[in-house]
C-alpha cells in the first residue's frame, strides 16, 4: 500500500470538520438573504463605517501590540539570559505557566487594577482624598486592549528568544567586552543580529494571534472597541446577519492566513 493512503483518513476528517465548513462560509458570503449569488454583501459591508473602523482598529492594535511585545520581550529575555539572577529559572518556568492560561484572564485582572473601582483609582482617591472618579479610565478604550494584548502575548516572544540566546556562544560576548565594547554596543552588534530570526518568527506569530484575538476585546466590555473577530460575533450572534458575518470572516481569514504563511516562511528560515 503506498504511503499516501495512510495520510488520507486524517485528511478526510480535517476536510469534513474544518475545510468544508470554511468553504461554506465563503459560499454564504456571496449569498445575500434576498437569494441568488451576488457580491452585494461585500459591497454593503465594505461600505459600512462600522467595518472600516473595525478593520483600522484591528490592524493598529495588532501592530502596536506586536511592537510592544517585541520591545518588552527582548528587554526581559536579555536580562534573564545575560544578567542572570537567582530565581531566573523560576521566572522562565512562570512564563511557561502563563502561556497555558486563557487570554481573557488578563483583561479580568486589569479590571481590578485599572477599573473604575480598581486598585490604581483607589490608591489615587486614598492619596488625594478626592471623592470623584480616579484618573485611570483608559480600560474601555483601545489602550486598555493594547495593554492587555502586550501583557498576554509578550511570553510568546520571550520563549523563542530565550531558546536563541541559550545557543549563543558567550565567548563572543567576552571577546567583545574585553576589546572594550560597552554593553549597549554588544547588544546592538552581537546579540541583536543573532536574535533577529527568533524576533521575526515570534513577532509574526504574535501579529497573527493579535489579529485573531477575541477574548481580551470581549472582556473589556467596551462598546467603543470593535475588532474584526468581535464584529463577526456581533453580526452573527446579536444581529443574526449571517452573510455579513461571513464577509467579515472571509476578510479576517485572508489577512491572518496571508500573514501566517509569511510566518511559516520566516520561521523555516530561522530554523525554529
Amino acid at each position: 500500500m503506498p504511503a499516501f493512503v495512510w495520510a488520507l483518513p486524517p485528511l478526510a476528517l480535517l476536510g469534513l470538520v474544518f475545510l468544508y465548513p470554511l468553504a461554506l462560509v465563503v459560499q454564504q458570503s456571496v449569498r445575500p438573504d434576498s437569494g441568488g449569488t451576488s457580491l452585494q454583501p461585500y459591497a454593503d459591508v465594505f461600505g459600512s463605517a462600522a467595518f472600516r473602523d473595525a478593520l483600522g482598529t484591528t490592524v493598529w492594535l495588532a501592530v502596536g501590540a506586536t511592537v510592544g511585545c517585541l520591545v518588552l520581550g527582548f528587554t526581559l529575555a536579555l536580562v534573564i539570559a545575560f544578567v542572570p539572577f537567582p530565581g531566573g529559572k523560576a521566572v522562565a518556568r512562570f512564563i511557561d505557566v502563563f502561556l497555558s492560561f486563557p487570554s481573557f484572564l488578563v483583561t479580568l485582572a486589569l479590571l481590578f487594577v485599572y477599573g473604575t473601582k480598581g486598585m490604581a483609582n483607589g490608591l489615587w482617591t486614598d492619596a488625594t482624598g478626592s471623592t470623584g472618579d480616579g484618573p485611570f479610565q483608559f480600560l474601555t478604550t483601545p489602550w486598555g486592549v493594547l495593554l492587555a494584548e502586550i501583557t498576554y502575548f509578550t511570553p510568546f516572544v520571550m520563549r523563542p528568544l530565550l531558546a536563541a540566546f541559550s545557543q549563543l556562544d558567550t565567548a563572543q560576548l567576552e571577546v567583545a567586552s574585553s576589546l572594550g565594547a560597552r554593553p549597549a554596543r554588544i547588544v546592538r552588534r552581537v546579540i541583536l543580529p543573532e536574535a533577529l530570526p527568533a524576533l521575526a518568527a515570534g513577532g509574526s506569530l504574535v501579529l497573527v494571534m493579535c489579529l485573531n484575538e477575541f477574548g481580551i476585546v470581549l472582556f473589556t466590555g467596551a462598546k467603543g472597541v470593535t475588532t474584526l473577530p468581535t464584529l463577526v460575533y456581533g453580526k452573527a450572534m446579536l444581529e443574526s446577519d449571517y452573510p455579513a458575518a461571513c464577509v467579515v470572516a472571509v476578510v479576517n481569514i485572508a489577512i491572518s492566513v496571508g500573514l501566517y504563511g509569511l510566518y511559516r516562511v520566516v520561521s523555516r528560515r530561522a530554523g525554529a
Binding site: P10, V79, F82, V83, L108
Partner: protein, 265 residues
C-alpha cells in the same frame, strides 16, 4: 555576563522587577485577591470571605467545571488521535506531500477561532448532519482548534526519532503494526503526553469559538466567567477564574508526572 559592575547589575535587575512584576505577576495575584474580596472600593480589597468559592463550586458553576473538563478531555483525545495519525503518516511521505499535510493541519492556528465557530455553525445547522445546539459540536470545535498543536508537537518528535530502532525491529521480523505499537509509540510517549497537556490546557480556556456554539445545557467555564463579569459579579468571576486556573494546573502537573515516568522507561 554582559554587565560587570555590581551597580549596573542591580540597576538592570531593578528595571526587570519593575517591568516584570506589575505586568505578569500582578494580574494573577489580583485575581486571587479579588476572589476572596467581599468589598473593593479603596486601594485594596476588604471584608475577606470564602462565599465566592462556595458559589463557584456548586450548582451551575460546578456543572460548568464538569462541562469544561469533559469537553477538554474529549477534544484532547480526538486531537491526539488525529494529530498523531497525521504526523506518523506525513513522516512517510515525500517532501512535497509532507509540506501539504503540514500546511493543512497547521491552518486552524491561522484562522480566527471565532471564524472556526462560525464555520461549524454554518456547516452543521443544515442537512445532511445537524449538530446545532449539541455538546458534540462544542467538543468538535475544540478538537479542530487544538489538533494543530498535537500535530506540531508529535511531528517534531517523529522527526527526532532514531530510525535505527524501527529498522532493527523490522529486521528481526516484526510486522509494521507491531513496530508501531511496541517500538514507535512507546518512544513517542513523552511527546504524546506533552501534547495532551497542551491540548487540554488550551481547550479548558477556549472562549472564542465556544460563544458561537454552546447550547444552554453545555456551558463551559470560560463562558460562565464571562457571564458573571458581564452582569457585574466580578468577584464570582474571579473565583471561577481561580478554579479554572487550578484545574488546568492540576491536570498539567499530573500529565508532567506521567511524562517523567514515560521518559525513564
Amino acid at each position: 555576563m554582559l554587565v560587570h559592575s555590581r551597580k549596573g547589575r542591580w540597576a538592570l535587575w531593578a528595571v526587570f522587577a519593575v517591568l516584570f512584576l506589575p505586568v505578569f505577576a500582578l494580574p494573577l495575584a489580583v485575581i486571587v485577591m479579588a476572589s476572596f474580596a467581599g468589598h473593593w472600593s479603596g486601594a485594596f480589597p476588604s471584608a475577606f470571605t470564602g462565599e465566592h468559592y462556595e458559589a463557584a463550586t456548586r450548582g451551575e458553576s460546578l456543572d460548568a467545571l464538569t462541562t469544561s473538563l469533559l469537553t477538554a478531555l474529549g477534544a484532547s483525545l480526538i486531537a491526539l488521535a488525529a494529530g498523531t495519525w497525521a504526523a506518523l503518516a506525513a513522516s512517510r511521505l515525500g517532501k512535497g506531500g509532507r509540506r501539504v499535510v503540514d500546511a493543512l493541519f497547521m491552518l486552524p492556528v491561522a484562522v480566527p477561532s471565532v471564524v472556526v465557530g462560525l464555520a461549524l455553525l454554518v456547516a452543521f445547522s443544515k442537512p445532511p448532519v445537524i449538530l446545532n445546539g449539541t455538546s458534540t459540536l462544542v467538543v468538535l470545535a475544540h478538537a479542530v482548534l487544538v489538533t494543530a498543536f498535537a500535530y506540531q508537537s508529535v511531528s517534531a518528535a517523529v522527526r527526532r526519532l532514531d530510525p535505527a530502532y524501527e529498522q532493527a525491529a523490522a529486521s528481526l521480523g516484526a510486522r509494521p503494526a507491531y513496530v508501531l505499537w511496541r517500538v514507535k509509540l512507546p518512544l513517542l510517549l513523552p511527546s504524546l503526553t506533552a501534547a495532551a497537556g497542551l491540548c487540554f490546557a488550551l481547550s479548558m480556556g477556549e472562549l472564542s469559538a465556544t460563544v458561537m456554539l454552546y447550547p444552554p445545557d453545555w456551558t463551559p467555564l470560560p463562558v460562565r466567567i464571562y457571564a458573571a463579569t458581564d452582569r457585574g459579579a466580578a468577584f464570582t468571576g474571579a473565583a471561577l477564574a481561580v478554579v479554572l486556573m487550578a484545574a488546568t494546573l492540576l491536570v498539567l502537573f499530573a500529565v508532567s508526572r506521567v511524562r517523567t515516568r514515560a521518559s525513564y522507561r
